[in-house]
Amino acid sequence: MTVTETRSPSAQVRDPGGRARRRAGWTRGVRLTLLIAFLVVFLIPVYVLLVTSFKPLTEADPGRAWALPEVWTLQPWRVAWEKLAPGIWNSVLLAVPGALISAVLGSMNGYVLSKWRFPGADVLFTLFLFGMFIPYQGVMIPLVQLLVKFNEITQDLTGVPGVFYGAIPGLLLTHVVYGIPICTLIFRNYYVTIPDELIEASRVDGAGMLRTYWSVVLPVSGPAFAVVIIWQFTSMWNDFLFAVFLTGPQSWPTTVMLNNIAGAQTVPYSQQMAAALLASIPTMVIYVLLGRFFMRGLMAGALKG
């Protein structure tokens, strides 16, 4: 986060006239101007979303969309909340437990693959990683069939119909399973930094694998848990493909509901944009408050870089 201004004095040493310094000042000005210009461009969609979402129906007219509202109103937000609330609740039911389960699984895998390795662990890890890159379209159709099978099995056993396909538990299972690769990767890369001597010492003291995990590895895992939970929460919250294939109207998460609202010609701009903002609040809050951990999740996705 800290900024290092002009690094090396050597340029000035070889150029006593101070020309280099003036040039450095000039290039810094150019850099700053360009960065600010890009900043403005990046924020254009946000500006439009925000100003439109506070406009009354009469002002939500494309001709005036760049202007600030003449009358500010919360009406579009209220309507958006009414329409979106069930989806938001479904998304919470999905993303909160989903992220926690993902973190626990990833932690166990990462621990074994970095500190309690078995023959072929490298190859297995690479086979896991491929799961991170597969296009989910390639598993979609069989996945639906498998979850339908699961529905039949659970109905026979418990009498409750439709537990998996068309419901939140099925979507949750899907996200957790396809999240295994990235979660394992993040934890493995984190645990590699724990000195092997620590694990060896624990072994010498007679601790088994689980004991070592519980009392040596887990206590220092906080940051990795934060990264994985935030990362998984965000991807489950934002996912659309799995949700649209695997859920029914009762279990639609936010993205599917938003897509239905936004796709309807009859819904005024201001309500669509308020709904879009509303749907983004949880992930935005996480990003602003815990951006550091979000970033680390991102970088983990880049493998070794």
Partner: protein, 295 residues
């Protein structure tokens, strides 16, 4: 025996994940390929084995050719655009600049939001109405006197997919910036200093020291952007919906499954997407595995 006792507990702990990955990743991929090789063209029939027939006959369909073309245009524009813009932003910030934290935060924030949410505003920004009917960006250009910049955006039959890449670049270039920034900062300062002492100009330092060291980062970024690009779905659905004009394989697959109710065809399209992604992800994974094994 003692050696087995040493690693067996670890293997057991990972076993649930191994089973899950084996079934859900490899099992499902295999199942999908098998389905693609049957003639199950409706939801009730059993479907018998027909080999690669579906893979061949897909190319007879005009829509498939269009969607493949679109995917290629989109991939080229998106990958090149995000790489160049991300690199440029990192380059501008590389030596440290006041307010760097703020810049980074804002360039990266689009990644935290779903395309379903931003699609609402991008659809409006890239509206094709012009002049007096102009809205969105065309309206902005019109009122700024930059009329010549107005165009049909994603409704343009030839270059529409290039326009569709703009929101994707908006979302991903901050990520590329972060990757490159980490890459730039990973170049040891004494290496640069040594080059300067040897009489290199700042430009030569970049050309011969910094840029070659950024190659692995560039490769990672390329793989990540490329695989995202080939399976792009949310963005298209959110901005234009299921229209031929912006059709890509992932959207075509959706149509085959939900509108035409043709599982074999959907599975065939899905298989092609998997093959396209595997073509460069597998070599990359093998390469990283090899690199890892070398100490």
């Amino acid at each position: 025996m003692t050696r087995v006792r040493r690693w067996l507990p670890g293997l057991l702990l990972v076993t649930p994940s191994i089973i899950a990955i084996a079934v859900f990743v490899y099992g499902m991929l295999g199942w999908n390929f098998r389905l693609a090789m049957t003639d199950k063209h409706d939801e009730v029939s059993e479907g018998s084995f027909v080999g690669l027939e579906n893979f061949v006959s897909l190319w007879d369909q005009k829509r498939w050719g269009i969607s493949v073309n679109h995917a290629i245009v989109f991939t080229v524009v998106f990958v090149a655009g995000a790489l160049v813009l991300g690199w440029l932003l990192a380059f501008l910030m590389e030596k440290g600049i006041r307010g760097e934290g703020t810049f980074r935060t804002i360039y990266l924030f689009p990644m935290a939001i779903s395309f379903v949410a931003t699609g609402v505003v991008w659809r409006w920004l890239m509206n094709s109405g012009q002049d007096e009917r102009a809205v969105g960006l065309n309206r902005l250009f019109d009122s700024l006197g930059l009329d010549f910049l107005q165009w049909e955006w994603f409704r343009n039959p030839d270059w529409g997919m290039a326009a569709m890449a703009i929101p994707a670049i908006w979302q991903m270039s901050g990520y590329v910036m972060a990757l490159f920034l980490a890459g730039f900062r990973g170049v040891p300062e004494d290496l640069r200093e040594a080059a300067r002492v040897d009489g290199c100009t700042e430009w030569q330092v970049y050309r011969h020291i910094v840029l070659p060291l950024l190659r692995p980062v560039t490769l990672s970024a390329l793989i990540i952007l490329g695989h995202i690009s080939l399976k792009v779905f949310d963005l298209i659905m959110a901005v234009s919906g299921k229209q031929i004009i912006t059709d890509v394989p992932a959207v075509f697959m959706w149509v085959a499954v939900f509108d035409s109710h043709d599982p074999a065809k959907g599975a065939t399209i899905a298989s092609y997407i998997v093959l396209a992604v595997s073509l460069f992800v597998i070599p990359y994974l093998v390469w990283t595995l090899r690199k890892e094994r070398r100490p």
